[in-house]
Symmetry: C2
Subunit: 350 residues, 2 copies
């Protein structure tokens, strides 16, 4: 029998950040596809759209008028899933019907006044402005006694449920720590207690040694397709320095983060020559007043496209009922991303 080979044979991989396993089926990328084709978001957009509720000067659903902002703009989500003034209460019937009130805040962050841009098309300075808003929002919301976790994220593209193409992200900040960061807290703490070092710092050192999953690296940040990536071109953006949250970053590190986000999203757009959809977000320490020495700030990018601008990976049947599963190896995905040009395909056309 042949020797076990990660590039060829079905296998499971372990995600030390969550403690879960993933099924990898490297041989499976050539199956026929008669299923759904995604629409691409290629229609050119005007710089200002009078019907967009995120553009400067326009009226929102609640009657408020957006200011004539020139950089970023943050406001409370008019349809927030979390509300600050939820009455306290709980249900517990036999440990099987259990509910408890949840409170929090939902905000929208417009990245730019320009309706027609996306992160990879913005200047490094403009993206640095976004990093600064993330930092300031984390500081402000995290300081509130009623907020113990601040989730900053972006849904990009219709296929990722983005309800408006104006470049924007969201913040959902709340009383309890949501499931994903709670799991990462437990895993990072256990590792830190055992080894006295950050799990992600040790992981980063291994990736820099092996290089095969490294997509981009600058003086302060490294982007890898993690060993345990679930989405076809999923990436993990890591600071070289072990910090718990954005407020600890130096100015230089923030510039380098903006540049990393720009470089990564340019590669993404270039992969299938399309505005690359994804959900992305920051994971930072809970703001529950506890020490979180083990926490290592990072960004996740979860993009759904698999083969082309119109064929995505579906997280359905087996993935929902059984286990996370992927078809191409993380190493193959990293290599493809790494080899892409660093100039945006639209800019290169001119």
């Amino acid at each position: 029998m042949a020797e076990f080979d990660l590039t060829e044979h079905p296998h499971r991989r372990y995600n030390p950040l969550t403690g879960e396993w993933l099924l990898v089926s490297p041989h499976r990328s050539r199956r026929p596809w008669q299923g759904q084709q995604e629409a691409t978001d290629e229609a050119p957009r005007p710089a200002h759209d009078p019907t967009c509720y995120l553009c400067p000067g326009n009226v929102r659903a609640n009657g408020e008028v957006n200011p004539d902002y020139t950089g970023t703009f943050v406001f409370d989500n008019d349809f927030a899933a979390l509300l600050p003034d939820t009455p306290v209460g709980e249900v517990n019937i036999g440990g099987l019907l259990r509910a408890e009130a949840e409170s929090g805040v939902g905000r929208v962050i417009c990245f730019s006044p320009r309706h027609d841009l996306t992160l990879p098309e913005m200047s490094p300075e403009a993206i640095r402005g976004v990093v600064d808003v993330w930092t300031q929002q984390f500081r402000e919301l995290g300081a509130r006694p009623d907020i113990n976790y601040v989730q900053i994220f972006e849904n990009k593209g219709q296929v990722m449920g983005c309800s408006n193409p104006h470049p924007h992200g969201q913040i959902w900040a709340q009383r309890t720590v949501p499931g994903e960061p709670a799991q990462e807290t437990r895993q990072q703490q256990a590792y830190f207690q055992q080894h006295g070092r950050s799990l992600l710092a040790d992981y980063l050192a291994l990736e820099l040694e092996q290089q095969q999953r490294v997509v981009l690296a600058n003086a302060h940040w490294v982007t890898v397709v993690p060993y345990w990536a679930v989405w076809p071109f999923e990436t993990l953006v890591l600071p070289r320095r072990h910090v718990q949250d954005l407020t600890q970053l130096t100015d230089e590190e923030k510039d380098a983060l903006a540049e990393m986000v720009r470089q990564l999203t340019i590669r993404y757009d270039n992969l299938f020559q399309t505005s690359f959809p994804y959900s992305a977000g920051l994971h930072q320490r809970p703001t529950d007043g506890q020490q979180h020495a083990a926490w290592h700030l990072h960004l996740h990018f979860y993009p759904p496209l698999l083969r082309s601008a119109t064929v995505r990976k579906f997280m359905v049947g087996y993935e929902l009922l059984g286990n996370a599963q992927r078809d191409i190896t993380p190493e193959a995905a990293a290599q493809r991303l790494r080899e892409l040009p660093d100039v945006h395909y639209k800019a290169a056309r001119h």
Copy 2:
């Protein structure tokens, strides 16, 4: 301040089957939608499609010819994610880069020779045929020493990644127990040890007492929108009797299961007058040779549609990075499903 009210206030609910929490935002269903509209699968299909690799008598990708089957038809998936002959092996670098070989079997189950049918349009007898294949496949695969878990499921509709509209389901059976059933095993075992009863039997008793989340009930099966449902119209189908797997069901119970699947999928199609997409599947005891007294067989239905045939719920940004989240309450969803007619909307048109 008002009193805490599950129908109005954001809250979290606990899923005792997985040990995870869900965020519920009952007030959030009225937000504006400018995002992706799903295509509906309404094009009429011929009873036999010469280009379909699942229809009787047609040639598959590997050159094999499908028999002229008249009921169900099972074959090994030509593009299986799991293969029986994977060489054994593993990787472990510092506990952070960990992988191990996985082996298993992938099969396809055609539900009917008719290319133009779906479960809700099939006769009770024909659906009973599907239940019998599930049972026989579970028995056969579960008996193999190299198979410790058998996942039977169906992806229905393009939006759920179904790559061919011919009515069919799949089986992925493998050496290790995947994440979801492993979690359910732990939770059910812990409950059984503590209470000496099945978690889902106790849960079912509470639901039958409260009635508000019950969608359908017959002599042997009950369908509820579970208290912790994540997808808008998610349901859980439970046998009244505590059994671990399909092979323990009586003939009468199997007939009643077929009838339950028919009644439920008719309601689903009637909800938005469309062929209702979903991923659905059976959860049964692992076939690892151990006693699984705590295990209580059940079916999950995970349908994505939220507001209409074209507007779905997206599991994106916050859901991927933070926590599962839903907008309408399980009680409201159950009420809507319960009130639908029991005759399929297409049949009612004639």
